[in-house]
Subunit: 489 residues, 2 copies
């Protein structure tokens, strides 16, 4: 009775959260199951749910309850929940509905134009739509806070616990150290191995994907594994992978998504729908998938455990050392999603620098191809042979999302820092991975990340887990050590 | 502009309908895909969607728009739509929310108790909950219309286009003719064939299910076929079947559900969410599934088309005549869902008579087992060896649904009447089935049933399609002719 406003607020927010998860199911089903001619109804269903979700989200009742709940005697956790709810509510309240509509219409059209532009390698046809997208982002930033750097504002939609100045420092330091490392490696003769191109039947691949997901601790009583065009995690931790991009890619995608999925599964269900039951941020989410993908899925220890089963199931022959080299080949390439572990983050930094300059009017839309190619040359030593495999390759900007990219690399950085800490805290860490024993690793992540939801800010969460704020040295040291050894530098 | 109220009403109703179809997806996913530990969240999601659906359904705005739309110059079709909307709205408005809650709570608990009672063959433990259920149905009927026979009121929730007096006449006539026919058949030595018990691998069964669904015209660009514990159709005509009850049952279930699915697929999509875009009634829906299941799926012509493929795929050997006999064996049995085509409807009539007497206080709850068994003896010549396979076998009453059962048999009756009409209108009807050419049949059903949604009442629809109201003679004649020939009576 004492915290009546808080309780009422939470029960309202749970409804909003549940309606959000209904929308997730509509989306999941669309990607995984939906027959093509059901698309029209599905779009209408999504529209109705989105409208109701928005109405509930900005219901003035929530504003009143927030105000009154502040006067109640709340625990620290409850207060954290309240603050998160207030942040979301106040921001949502500022956004005029015509801007929401403009974003939806523009991104729908921009997506269409972008697809054709990429296909035809015609950046010019995309420029008016990218221009509209950037303008809408600027307008949005101004409405939210006209005094701040607009990139800071849009970036906060994806990661509000690390500020842009911090990101600049992290990314610059990373470039400084890793660009020379890549140069050194690319000057060496390349490892050639065509085994990764071998076609493996889907049912065999599925068998291995299920095996590795289960092995690392993904809980199939809460989630499931399906196939989709692009791997993703949604709907209370359901994961998808794809089998048509090669068997190594399929395994790594499964492990990556299982990392996301386990985070979702371990969020405290009693807080489902409220910030305490939600993932902290995109960077933290990505840290979970990258941790499993890179520190487990690309480690020699893990492959020591799974290689025999993979070899037998896929009828291939390769030694552990060769396999380890194969999944860790460094080779600068044009396409971000196909990049290796070492070069990947430079693809991200390039995009981050460009989108920041774009929204701040430091560069013009039509300069993008030139600048893109110059940065590719500078960071990776190669120049895309066309814009299709250059500045037109990603969907993010076409969808209206400026400021999303950096969360991928922030995730990798956090992952490396978590990995470093776990190594020091969990006895026989490598041995346990070799044995496929992930119990302690999962408990550690659950305790230090998953179970905490949005109780702490991103930086607080990292500090509580590892003893310090996000520090790029762990990522740099990990990469340097690993690839120096691998390439005998 | 002239019909502004009508237009606004329709757009509101579409929202309500779309939210209903969202709830269908939640349910479909639960049966087909959902991992067990996602159940808790799913129940909460369903709760939120149901609550919003109900709020929108009885929004006073709808009442006002109905009133104003009546003054607008509407077409006949629009008027039909308006009348259906008004009927639903007025009824929903009458139901107090505490009754809805009581129904939900009682059926949840009753379901649990029923499951255990059935397992332990303990009817007494179920009586208090069946009692509550019957009482709630009476209370509901009184609220809707205290002057009418309460069974008429609850029956209208499932079929409002055929009245109970008509059903009585149809069912009594049916009993009169068919009970003696069954007696005659059961006095003859039984056909024995163990081939139906052969275990066929699921992937082979799935192959045949996909084949027959496609053959009869089920559109996989709109729907899909999955596996579930109980076969059902939902979510814009998606169908399920089951493979663990024998290969014949799987094929017939698939055909049955495909009949439902094609109805859903052919409803006019531009009216989706409003009565003009909705199926007419449960009886009409069931007429579509029973038409395909009985008049196609159990016909010699159809098996002439598919038998070779089935034999090859399942590695079995059987002649067409033997196969036709096998799928049409008449054998009185205890379980409704396993009953053959001839005895099935007597299971239904038994239940119909019981539930009608129950709600009208003509019998007491504790008399059910006795009356059940006496009717089984009278109609089918057998007495269940326990209540588990007698009056405790079905979920319907436990779920609170009195008045649902008769729609199954009404569906079979309508199907026979449609079949008779099609035979006379479609040239070379039997030959076309033999060839697997369902184009004209599907066009006929589409034109006369599917595309009309709720434009006409059930009886009007039947009359428009066949030239007369529902007449049981077509069903009786069809069964008599078929089984007299089959059993050389």
């Amino acid at each position: 009775m004492k915290k009546q406003n808080y309780s009422e607020l939470i029960s309202l927010k749970k409804k909003v959260g549940l309606l959000g998860s209904v929308s997730e199911l509509l989306g999941w089903d669309q990607e995984v199951n939906m027959p093509p001619k059901a698309a029209e109804i599905r779009a209408q269903e999504q529209g109705v749910v989105a409208e109701l979700h928005h109405q509930l989200f900005i219901d003035p009742k929530i504003g009143k309850l927030i105000k009154n709940a502040k006067k109640e005697k709340l625990t620290k956790k409850e207060l954290a929940n309240l603050n998160e709810i207030e942040y979301d509510y106040k921001k949502a309240k500022k956004i005029p509905s015509d801007l929401v509509v403009a974003f939806a219409h523009t991104s729908a059209k921009a997506l269409e134009v972008w697809k054709e532009a990429r296909e035809k390698n015609d950046f010019n046809s995309f420029t008016p739509w990218l221009n509209k997208t950037v303008k809408l982002n600027k307008k949005y930033a101004k409405i939210i806070n006209k005094k701040r750097d607009p990139f800071e504002v849009v970036f906060e939609d994806y990661e509000k616990g690390i500020n842009v100045k911090e990101v600049d420092v992290l990314f610059n330091k990373f470039k400084e150290e890793i660009v020379p490392l890549i140069e050194k490696i690319t000057s060496i003769k390349k490892i050639k191995n065509n085994l990764s191109k071998k076609k493996i039947p889907v049912d065999k691949q599925k068998e291995i994907s299920l095996y590795v997901a289960k092995l690392i601790g993904y809980d199939f009583s809460k989630g499931r594994l399906d196939e989709s065009t692009h791997p993703f995690t949604s709907c209370y931790g359901r994961i998808t992978t794809r089998y048509n991009e090669g068997w190594i890619s399929a395994i790594l995608s499964t492990i990556h998504e299982a990392g996301h999925g386990m985070y979702e599964h371990n969020l405290p269900i009693k807080h489902y729908g409220t910030p305490l039951g939600q993932s902290r941020s995109l960077s933290i989410h990505e840290s979970q998938s990258r941790y499993y993908e890179n520190h487990i899925g690309r480690s020699k220890e893990f492959w020591k455990k799974i290689l025999n089963k993979v070899k037998k199931t896929y009828d291939i022959n390769i030694s552990l050392d060769e396999m380890y080299k194969l999944i860790n080949i460094v080779e600068p390439s044009f396409i971000r999603v196909e990049a290796d572990e070492l070069t990947y983050s430079l693809h991200i930094i390039l995009r981050y620098e460009l989108e920041k300059d774009l929204i701040n009017n430091r560069i013009k839309i039509n300069e993008i191809p030139k600048i893109w190619n110059a940065k590719m040359k500078k960071y990776l030593g190669i120049v895309p042979k066309s814009d299709s495999v250059g500045c037109l390759q990603d969907v993010h900007w076409a969808m209206g999302g400026l400021g999303y990219f950096p969360t991928y690399t922030l995730g990798s950085m956090i992952a490396a820092q978590l990995n470093y800490k776990m190594k020091s805290e969990i006895p026989n860490y490598n041995k346990k991975i070799e044995k496929g024993d992930f119990k302690e690793i999962n408990l550690w992540l659950n305790k230090n990340i998953h179970s905490l939801g949005c109780q702490y800010s991103t930086q607080e969460l990292i500090k509580k887990a590892t003893g310090e704020k996000l520090n790029v040295k762990y990522y740099i040291n990990y990469l340097t050590e690993k690839f120096t050894k691998l390439y005998n530098l």
